[in-house]
Each structure stands twice: as C-alpha cells, then as structure tokens.
Symmetry: C2
Subunit: 466 residues, 2 copies
C-alpha cells in the first residue's frame, strides 16, 4: 500500500505525493507524482519547487532520488532548471483532455437481425483450423520472415495464391506479379495512387456499387464516372476519358449478373486501344452454385487487367488479407506505394498454409453448401410468402436482389426495421451520377447471419415484405 506523504514547503504546499518509500520504484513514483501534479494543474506553470535537499528531508528519502526525479522531469520538459532561479514548473503544461470510454463493439440499438451484404457468416470462421495453420506457419518460418521482407508479400503466400487462382479462377498469376495487400480497399487505394501517377483523372465504375469505394477513390484524388447500364448490365464499350475501369465481371455487385461475353471483350479492346487499365473486383468468385464459375476476365489480357481478390468472403474480413495480380508494368508503382509490407507476416504465412494444406478448399466447399441451402430456403420462402417479389442475382455469391413493386422500397426497409431486421434498399447502391433506374429492391445478404439466427432472420424478412 502506498503511504501518503504531504510536503509542507515551497511550491509543493498542498500537493499529495503518493509514494511507497520501501518500494524499488521510489524515484519513479516521485517522478510520476510530480508529473501528474503538473499535468492536472495542481502545480501551476511558473511555480517554484522546493530544493532537492529540502524535499528529500520532507519525504525522508535520499536527496539524489529527488534530484534524479527533477532531472527526469526537466528532460521531459515538465520542469525547467535555471542557474540561480531553482527548479520551476514549465510554462507549457496543458490540462489533460477528459477521458471517454471506448465505444462498445455493438452500437446501442443495433437490430437483432441483419441481412446487410458484404460479410460472410462470421460465426463460421474456422478458428481451430486457422490456429493450426498459424502454428505450422510459426514453426516453419525462417527467421528472416519476421523482418521487413519483400514489399510484394511473402513468397510462400504469393506462390500458394498463384496456384490457387490459376486452378480455381482461371487467373494467369505469376507470383512475381502478385502483390499481397490488406483487403480490397487497401488494394484499390494503392491502385488509385498508381493511376494518378500515370496521369489518370477519372475511374469509370459500375452504375451500382459501394459508396465506400467511390469515397475512397475520391479521397485519393480521382473522379468516379458511372458506366451506362441497360437491361443486359454494364455497358463497357466506351468508358470515355477514364484512365481505368472498375468492374465486378464474375458477379456484379450488387445486381448479381455476370458481365456478358461481348462486353468482356469490349472492355479489353478499350484497354488495349487506349492503354487503360481494368480493375477486376472478384469479391466472391468462389461462390457460384448452379454452374461452373465464370472464369476471371484477367485471363483475357493480363497485360491490361488488375485482378483483385480477398479472403474476406471465403474466410473473414477481419483477417485483412487480399491480393492483386498485376500487369508487370504496374508492379513497381504499387510496390513503391507501400503494398505488401502492410500485411502481417504471421497471417500471410498462415494463409499460405491454409491454401496449400487444402483447408481453404474444404472451408469454401462447406461454406458454399451452407450458403446455397440458405439461398434455396430464401427463394422457397419468398415463393410461398411473397409471390409479388421477384428474386434475381441468385446464381452466385452471398446476396440476392429482391425486386419490389414500384415505390415500396423505403416502406419495406422501414417495415424490416420494425421486425428487428437491418436490410438495405437497392437505391442505396446507385452511383449519384448514374442514369440507370432499375426500380425498387432490396439487397439481401443471406451470407451475413450466423446459423442460429438464420430462420428468425428469414421470418423477419418475410413479415416485412408486401
């Protein structure tokens, strides 16, 4: 227990110094107590402190201890010591800002059910398998893996990803041109820097997408311009002045279609003709249910397409693990802007283990089966309970689009809230400059709920629908 020592002399009048004179940290304790007194304003600027001899006598401790504590605080700028005028409290001490508690993980009033898209079922993250991969990674890593390393990321992971992407997504991935990043947003941010350095001022985007991405692009100093949109999807034949195009060809987000073959060809032709870049957002390419996955667009022309993927849908967004397969000419720019050195080596090596051991494939297979069952349950429930609602975009991914009768979107979103369900309307995903108006709808992220909440979530959705 710390005893209380009160001094009765000089500038320390009325200041309590909490010290344990028997402890090893006597000097430290005195330093801390004096610093606290200055910081909180109990010792005001300009106050002259007692001499080290008199304070030492007061406190019953060695004079050197006091002198050392004063010296520490002078070194830190709290006190000043001038020949002839003794030790004083420095002028620039400021009061501490009032402390606020850390906000809790769940905001108050958060709804019990959620179909907000963008996340897989977080409860199904394979913790035990991930720990196993981490153990193997930590055991096998060479010492120099813990250093700064290759700015593209660990070679073990780049090789494992190149194999995986070639096998599963048809990507032409040379590990030399594969760069690890901390998720899609990080990769997009790096690419914006590269695009600006190439002189691009505009990134063409789909008419429907994520405002988070558009905002990120704007903050990085580029304009976003939406591509025209018609009944067949995004029109890619003329991105205008844009230096690059951001597309989700395998599974448009959020509308859900695959980019039509002639439009895949058209955008590659545009890139070749103009030297533009295509950024391919393959955010959920592993999840396709009724036919073979649509292969990556990148394979058509690796010299003009940047392929972007992540572990966010197959595993979890919290891992912050993503990757880019780059045209060789883009690698130096991305590396110069920081890329792969942002990602922790233990998680990189754990993911490499996860991929090469087959755990990734097993996990995706099991997840695909579960999400497909959810999708089927969704379609079935809607057919029975809400026959006026047309479900689209169900061939793939972790979300579907529910087409609603005109003018009902806001009402339905509100009704869902009353049912305790968070769900987003389609209009929220429309680029502010887009001409397109595909009508009212809901974007239903059926991958989001944990298993135990799925039935309740579906029931809440059905109750909210017209």
């Amino acid at each position: 227990m710390a005893e209380r020592w009160a001094t009765s002399r000089g500038g320390l009048q009325g200041i309590d110094l909490h010290l344990d004179p028997a402890g090893p940290g006597l000097r430290r304790g005195l330093t801390d107590a004096l610093r606290a007194a200055v910081r909180t304003g109990r010792l005001s600027p300009g106050t002259r402190l007692p001499s080290s001899r008199s304070l030492a006598g007061d406190l019953g401790i060695a004079r050197n201890t006091v002198a050392d504590a004063y010296a520490d605080l002078v070194a830190e700028g709290w006190l000043t010591a001038r020949q002839g005028s003794g030790t004083r409290v420095a002028d620039r001490a400021v009061p501490a800002p009032p402390a606020r508690p850390v906000s809790p993980g769940r905001a108050p009033g958060r709804l019990p059910y959620s179909l907000v898209p963008g996340s897989p079922d977080l409860a199904s993250f394979p913790r035990a398998e991930w720990l196993k991969a981490t153990r193997r990674a930590l055991t096998a890593a060479p010492h120099d893996a813990f250093g700064y390393g290759d700015p593209r990321g660990r070679p073990e992971l780049r090789t494992a990803l190149a194999d995986y992407l070639a096998r599963v997504r048809g990507v032409r991935a040379d590990p030399e041109h594969l760069v690890v990043c901390a998720g899609f947003a990080h990769g997009l941010r790096l690419l914006c820097d590269v695009l600006r350095a190439r002189g691009a001022g505009t990134l063409a985007v789909e008419s429907y997408g994520l405002d988070d991405h558009w905002d990120l692009v704007a903050r990085a100093g580029l304009r976003t311009a939406p591509l025209p949109f018609d009944a067949s999807g995004t029109r890619t034949e003329d991105p205008g002045e844009a230096g690059a195009v951001l597309l989700s060809p395998a599974h448009q987000f959020p509308l859900g279609g695959a980019l039509r073959p002639e439009r895949r060809a058209a955008v590659v032709d545009w890139a070749r003709r103009t030297g533009g870049l295509i950024l391919e957002d393959d955010y959920d390419g592993e999840f396709r249910y009724d036919r073979q996955p649509v292969g990556a667009l990148q394979d058509l022309d690796p010299g003009h397409v940047v392929y972007l993927g992540t572990a966010s849908k197959a595993l979890a967004p919290g891992l912050r693990l993503g990757w880019m397969v780059l045209p060789p000419s883009v690698v130096p720019g991305v590396v110069a802007h920081g890329a792969g050195r942002s990602v922790g080596v233990v998680e990189q090596l754990a993911l490499a283990e996860f991929l090469t051991s087959g755990a990734y494939d097993r996990h995706v297979r099991a997840a695909r089966l579960r999400y497909r069952r959810r999708r089927d349950a969704l379609v079935e429930a809607l057919a029975e309970r809400a026959p006026d609602v047309h479900v689209t975009g169900i061939a793939a991914g972790l979300h579907a689009v529910l087409r609603l009768p005109p003018g009902t979107e806001q009402t339905v979103v509100q009704a869902a809230t009353w049912q305790g369900l968070a769900v987003l309307g389609l209009s929220r995903f429309r680029h502010p400059d887009a001409d397109a108006t595909p009508g009212d709808g809901l974007v239903v992220g059926y991958g989001t709920p944990p298993d135990h909440a799925w039935t309740g979530t579906l029931e809440a959705l059905c109750r909210a629908l017209p």
Copy 2:
C-alpha cells in the same frame, strides 16, 4: 493418369486435349485444355472450332459436355459464338508472359554478417509465446471481431496499448484517440494525407534520418525540409513554413541523443503558435540502458503531438503492428483515410493478449538485457581494438554511432564488406538538403545479428576499423 486424345477435325487439328474421360471433371478438363490452347497461341484468333457434335464424337464424350465447355469459354471471352458462323477463337487472346521464378528470400551475394540498423534480432522473436497469445485471442474473440470492425482498430488492443503507453512511456493515451496501423510507414502515410488535407505543403524533418521516410513523404505529395542541426542536436525553434515536424525526441535516429528540454519546449511552443503538428517517432523508446527512459514528448501537449510507436523493435517488423496516439481533431481524418482497418484482427488481438498478460514486458526486459550486453561488448571491443574510434549514442536503442577519422568512412564501409560485414556509413542518413556535416561515421545496428553470429560480427567490425 490422363489419357491423350487427339482430334483430327476442323480447327483442333494437331491440338492435344488432355482429358480423363472417367474423371468427374470432364467438362472442366476440356474447358481448361481449350483455354490453354487459345492462351498459348496453339489455337490462333479467328480459328473455327469443330461443332460440338463432331468434337464429342471424336472424343467419345457426351455432346452436352462439349457444348457446355464451349459456352463456358464464350462466357469468359475466349471464344465467340455467332449465328451461322459457328464457334471461333476470339480475336483478343494474348500470349502468356514468360514465367519467372519467385526471387529467394536472401539475395545472392548477401553478406554473412550485418550491422545494418532498423531491425531487432529476428531469431529471438518469441514464437511460442506469440502462438499462445494467438490461441487465447482466437478462443476469446467475439464472432463480430472477424468482421470489418472499428476503423481505429480493435478496442481490446487500443485499451491495452493506452495502458501500456501511459505506464511505460508517459503517453497520455485515451483509447478513443488511439488508432492501430500497420507500422510506422503506414501511419506516416496516413498522416501525410491528413496534412495535405489541412493544406500543409512541407514536413520539417531532422537533418539525419531515413531516406525511406523522406521518399514516402514525397510520394504522398509533401516536401521534406531538414531542420538545422548543431552540436546539441536538432534545432526546433523555427520550423519555418512547415505544417508539421517529424522528430525522434527520445532517441534521435541515427545520432542517438535525446532532444534537449528547451528544444522540446520550443517545438511545442511552435506548434501552439502556428497550429502545426508534431509527429513523434518513438521507434525504440523501450530500450534505454543507463537511466530512466526519456518520457514521450506527447505528454507535454497531446493536442499538438501525434505519438507513433510500433512493435517492430520490441517484437518484430514482420508483425506490421503500429499505433498512433492522436490529437482528437486528427482522428476523423486518419480514420477517413483508412487507418486501423488495414490490420488483421487476429494479430491485433494477439498483441492485446501479449500486453495484458505481461508477456510483452517480460520479452522487452529480456531483450533489453541482451542488447545492453551487446552494447557493452561493442564498447569494450572498440576501446581495446580501435582506440581512435569514438562511440556515441549508446545510452539507448539498438544501434550506436562510431565516429571515424575524417575521410575514412567509405574506406571503412568497403573494408567491412571485405570482412563479410554489411554496415552503413553515417553520410547515408543525411538529408540531401541538410547543411549539417557531423563528420565521418558508421551507424552500427548491434541489435540486428542473431545471437550465434554476434561474436563473428563484432570481430568482422573490429577488423574493418582503422
């Protein structure tokens, strides 16, 4: 084993299709083989493919399988199918770039010994303890930890860091204003974006420092301007037009001194007067040997100082774990520019465990003892073997500066190379625009070698010295 099937008709003449007709992936195998043939140029653009009926007959497989494979490749853009003209190879197939092997972790010709500063002994990374912390983190984490989460980073880690930094470095750290980042460079990059948004065009830096940081600042669109430097260190009283100042007050890198009290005061006064920001790079604050650590400058005025720290010296750079304690007004800008969502949640939670369990303190204590012994051995060896060399900057950190006789720096660095030792001259750390010329020297990172190489490294250094 895959049998070889050769077709003898139409456009596939001479093309080997590697198929296992008994396998489950027949359609997939055919798709892959055709795609490979197009990609490698064996099937040239415009080539007409045999009808699905005739190829199926040729291969002895179902016609639907061929039709499906064609449809997949049309969807991917490799083939085109037009009414009346059959299925053809699309025009835009490009040859694959030649594959190059991933470069090995160690570049050929790398020297056996290294005293290049900036890294702790990577061989001493506490793998078993880190795995233990990861296990506890993975077990205890709530499901929603695996989601996108708070852009400042996990609350568990921010709280643990705030406690640690207050206790060990005297930082006034409210977890609300603490943001997790992926190391110092990542934090600096985010801060540059904030500074530009505040209208700053110049960041004042120390005359000696790291060119990597200056380059990063330049790429982020800011000029670096070196502060004057005299016998007492960096002069901080007038940073001129700069909107912010980057300093290493506890232990100047690489020269090794602590910023003098009146200069700490002066820079805080400057910041208050002009509304400028001080970026405090506390890169090795935990390692001080002969006296109490110098407390953080941030404590003098948390409203104008950004405190930056990392786990790179205490644990390992490969973890890519850093943190910033920010003035409240800077938090929104840093968060808007991406911050804490770049860092994997498993490593964030593992570090929180490491801190709260005391493993971090134990590891730092043991490391400090080992590095201090190395420093003592260095000083002793030099006193005996190279009495003309003056050692400075030895009170703290993982490196020292060896002052060399005028005009000998390049010769000594070259002589070290002949001894198999990588070591950097002091001139390499001088800002190109700095007036200062503190003479010839070596920056000796004695923390870098693994234990088993330490004696040999020291011996090589002594042999290289005049």
